[in-house]
């Protein structure tokens, strides 16, 4: 089943097009990364999903329904810009958001206490937010997003502003919810988090989709890179697109070799063996998502 579907969604603010003909689908139980630079249209897209703003055109389906507050019982949302009511206590805050999402007062309080205990804040349940440290307040904010054990959790730049301890806590919480069957959609421009968490991802630039697929499919969009140490130049070998000489030691030379996108390093190794092409080193480099991002989005971002 599809947890989230956007079909040819466009959003204009006056003359400015923030999201342009965006279509993608997130399957049930997936952890989906929504990647893009600043101003790419991530927050606008997520706000449309949550019905905080309405699309200019296109169709959105969330858990099989139209966007609206009737979905809030099944949704969790952690906005990029975070804040809490300073004069409410930690537990009151979580209970309030739980009730806004349709929970009973007792259920919301009980779940709030459980979450605070799990986040190490059991002793601060009745402390006002203004008396909590920033890190503690961040944990309370996370608790408000997940208090209703949401079927779909939407996180907008969830790691921004978090200290390393809370980043770890958030990753654990995402994985915990994922294991319980929740669908997670999060936007970020920090690729390391996406690399650790995402099943699939979407790259957005200038409001347009640039890529959608798995991490392996994303990496496949980059030329395969190899590090070879050989006596001869690999130029001319089948599939080799470019070669750069790095250093030479005792008659052996280190080469940075690029294959055409989708090229299989195994084929090259087989050719070398068949031709008696002498090798001391054959090392395949695995491109990072950061490389993929720069490759796909970087140019456009640079021009923007």
């Amino acid at each position: 089943m599809t947890a989230l579907l956007l079909d040819q969604v466009t959003k204009d603010f006056g003359d400015k097009r923030a999201v342009d003909d965006l279509s993608f689908a997130v399957g049930d139980g997936e952890v989906f990364g929504f990647l893009g630079g600043n101003g790419a249209g991530k927050t606008t897209s997520l706000r449309m999903v949550l019905d905080i703003i309405r699309p200019t055109s296109g169709r959105i389906q969330i858990l099989g329904r139209r966007p609206g507050r009737e979905n809030s019982a099944d949704l969790g949302f952690l906005p990029e810009e975070r804040g809490l009511y300073r004069t409410m206590t930690a537990l009151e805050t979580i209970t309030y958001f739980g009730r806004l999402k349709g929970m009973t007062r007792n259920d919301a309080r009980a779940e709030g206490k459980t979450l605070l205990d799990r986040f190490g804040l059991g002793g601060s349940a009745n402390t006002k937010i203004e008396k909590l440290s920033k890190g503690m307040a961040q944990k309370v904010q996370l608790a408000t997003a997940v208090v209703n054990a949401p079927r779909l959790l939407i996180l907008d730049e969830p790691f921004s502003g978090l200290d390393p301890v809370n980043q770890g806590l958030l990753e654990e919480e995402i994985m915990r919810l994922s294991r319980q069957g929740s669908t997670i959609v999060f936007s970020t421009h920090v690729m390391q988090h996406a690399e650790r968490l995402c099943d699939r991802l979407l790259l957005l630039a200038d409001g347009r989709k640039k890529f959608e697929g798995t991490q392996d499919e994303a990496r496949a969009t980059l030329p395969t890179r190899l590090r070879l140490t050989a006596r001869e130049t690999p130029v001319g070998l089948p599939g080799v697109v470019s070669v750069a000489k790095l250093q030479e030691t005792d008659g052996w030379t280190d080469w940075d070799v690029r294959l055409e996108p989708g090229g299989d390093p195994g084929d090259l190794l087989q050719t070398c063996t068949e031709r008696g092409f002498a090798l001391r080193r054959f090392e395949q480099g695995r491109p990072s998502l950061h490389d993929v991002f720069i490759h796909i989005v970087g140019g456009e971002e640079g021009r923007a």
Partner: protein, 499 residues
């Protein structure tokens, strides 16, 4: 109850109710009403001024003392008349002077009252017909008491008196066990010659009515002597002194009309002022809350759970609930003060609260109160949604406050003069002033067509306001950047730049 509107409203209410300002404001009127009788009691206690008359001739002092005694009896007679009227005791003696109300009692009448047995006789007559639980009549304290003149002063000349008396009337210099003395009056024996003045020693300003007593008594003595010197027979001269116009005070008949007079002056402004005060306070608290929600960036998380409209209505309901709670506590405190206490406060409050017992007036008051609250709160709410800080909000707030507050002062003055004047009636039809003006007028009676007409106009205005300002509110909630200009706000109202 999980209705998001009520959840937002309840949170808004709790947030405001958790502030110290709310509780101080809430309790200030009950506190004032509670201490008012105590203060009044202390202020009234011992208000009898002690007067010493130094009269070498021995002729003026008895006349002054007699005048003071007569004036006190007039006061007793007037109090008895009010007591008899308010406790419905005229039937005890329908021909008695105290059974005639709203009349200034002449000296002859007061003397007749004394001759017929005075207070003792009147009180006995009233007790015979009064219900057992009727509060007993309290004789008012006399304004002045004549104290005996020590012999050494009675024979002193003005120069010696000028040395001795200042210390005797001075509260600061007086000896601890000395008899109280507020005024010392020296009347020279040769007053008629015009060469020696009457002298008064006092530690403060001279009470106006004491001055009247002295002047009228001494003037009368001088005139009598003058008329007699001109050959007028003594009895004619004395009769000339007794000539006085008969004065009748015209007031509406006791009961409904009487109460209306009180209402015209007290209730309208009280209710209107309550609306104004509670609105300004709860409105500014809500504005602070909304600015906090914006500046703390928690609106987006809330808007993921409730729609902007639910959020807006929730905040409005919460604020109105705060205002109504304040007003309810104030009115309950006033009712408690009116019926649980005696004295001046109760005398003012009881008739002032009377119209609330008429369902139609009470309903109309509640309507104008709620509509006024909604109208002004909506403005505060929208300003809060457009502002990142309280300083930002002030820029919008100042002109709005001026627009509302300045005419309010004018309305108050116009209503005091005449609650049905043309100016007041015109203001009743300007929607932003309708609630204040109509609340101020309702107690004194307003034609039904005006109540319905201005009520409908107000309802239409509030509906349009909620739609237009609602657009600005929704569009501004997640906005950032510089404060929107008036032109931009106008575009938002037209719905040109939603989202």
């Amino acid at each position: 109850m999980n209705n998001p509107i009520f959840l937002v409203a309840a949170r808004e209410f709790r947030q405001i109710a958790a502030t110290r300002g709310f509780w101080i404001t809430l309790l200030i009127i009950p506190f004032a009403l509670a201490i008012a009788p105590v203060t009044a009691h202390f202020m009234q206690k011992d208000h009898t001024a002690h007067v010493m008359l130094i009269d070498p001739s021995g002729q003026a002092a008895p006349a002054i003392a007699a005048r003071i005694a007569l004036d006190h009896q007039r006061q007793v007679l007037q109090s008895l008349s009010r007591y008899s009227e308010s406790h419905d005791l005229d039937r005890a003696d329908p021909h008695a002077l105290w059974a005639r109300h709203d009349q200034y009692y002449t000296d002859a009448e007061v003397q007749a009252f004394i001759a017929s047995g005075g207070l003792t006789h009147a009180d006995a007559a009233m007790r015979r017909v009064a219900a057992p639980n009727t509060q007993p009549f309290g004789e008012p304290d006399p304004d002045y008491k004549i104290v005996p003149t020590p012999t050494r002063l009675a024979t002193s000349d003005p120069a010696a008196l000028a040395r001795i008396l200042p210390a005797m009337v001075s509260h600061a210099r007086k000896e601890p066990n000395a008899e109280p003395l507020d005024y010392a009056v020296y009347i020279p024996a040769d007053l008629a010659s015009g060469r020696a003045p009457v002298q008064i020693w006092s530690d403060g300003p001279i009470a106006g009515d004491l001055m009247d007593v002295l002047q009228s008594t001494l003037t009368r003595a001088l005139r009598l002597r003058f008329l007699q010197a001109q050959g007028v027979r003594p009895e004619m001269a004395d009769a000339a002194q007794q000539i006085a116009p008969m004065v009748v005070v015209n007031r509406p008949a006791a009961g409904k009309g009487r109460e209306q007079v009180m209402i015209r002056s007290i209730l309208p402004l009280l209710v209107s002022y309550l609306l104004f005060m509670s609105l300004m306070l709860s409105g500014s608290w809500m504005l602070q809350g909304t600015v906090e929600e914006r500046s703390n960036r928690l609106i987006e998380a809330v808007l993921a759970c409730v729609s902007p409209n639910q959020f807006m209505y929730g905040k409005l309901i919460g604020t109105i609930a705060v205002g109504l709670t304040m007003v309810a506590v104030w009115v309950l405190a006033a009712i408690a003060a009116a019926f649980a206490t005696q004295g001046m406060i109760a005398d003012i409050l009881r008739p002032a609260l009377e119209p609330l017992s008429q369902p139609s007036v009470a309903l109309a008051m509640i309507y104008y109160f709620l509509a006024g609250y909604l109208m002004i709160s909506m403005i505060f709410l929208t300003i809060g949604a457009m502002s990142d800080s309280f300083r930002d909000a002030q820029a919008y707030l100042s002109p709005v406050m001026l627009l509302i507050a300045m005419p309010f002062a004018i309305i108050a003055q116009m209503v005091i003069r005449d609650p049905s004047s043309l100016g007041v009636r015109i203001m009743s039809w300007i929607p932003i002033y309708t609630p204040f003006t109509m609340l101020a007028r309702l107690g004194a009676g307003v034609p039904l067509w005006e109540v319905i007409g201005s009520g409908l106009t107000l309802a239409a205005f509030v509906a349009i306001e909620v739609v237009l300002l609602g657009r600005v509110f929704r569009a501004s909630l997640l906005g950032s950047g510089p404060k929107p200009s008036l032109a931009h706000i106008a575009r938002l109202m037209r719905g040109r730049e939603s989202d």
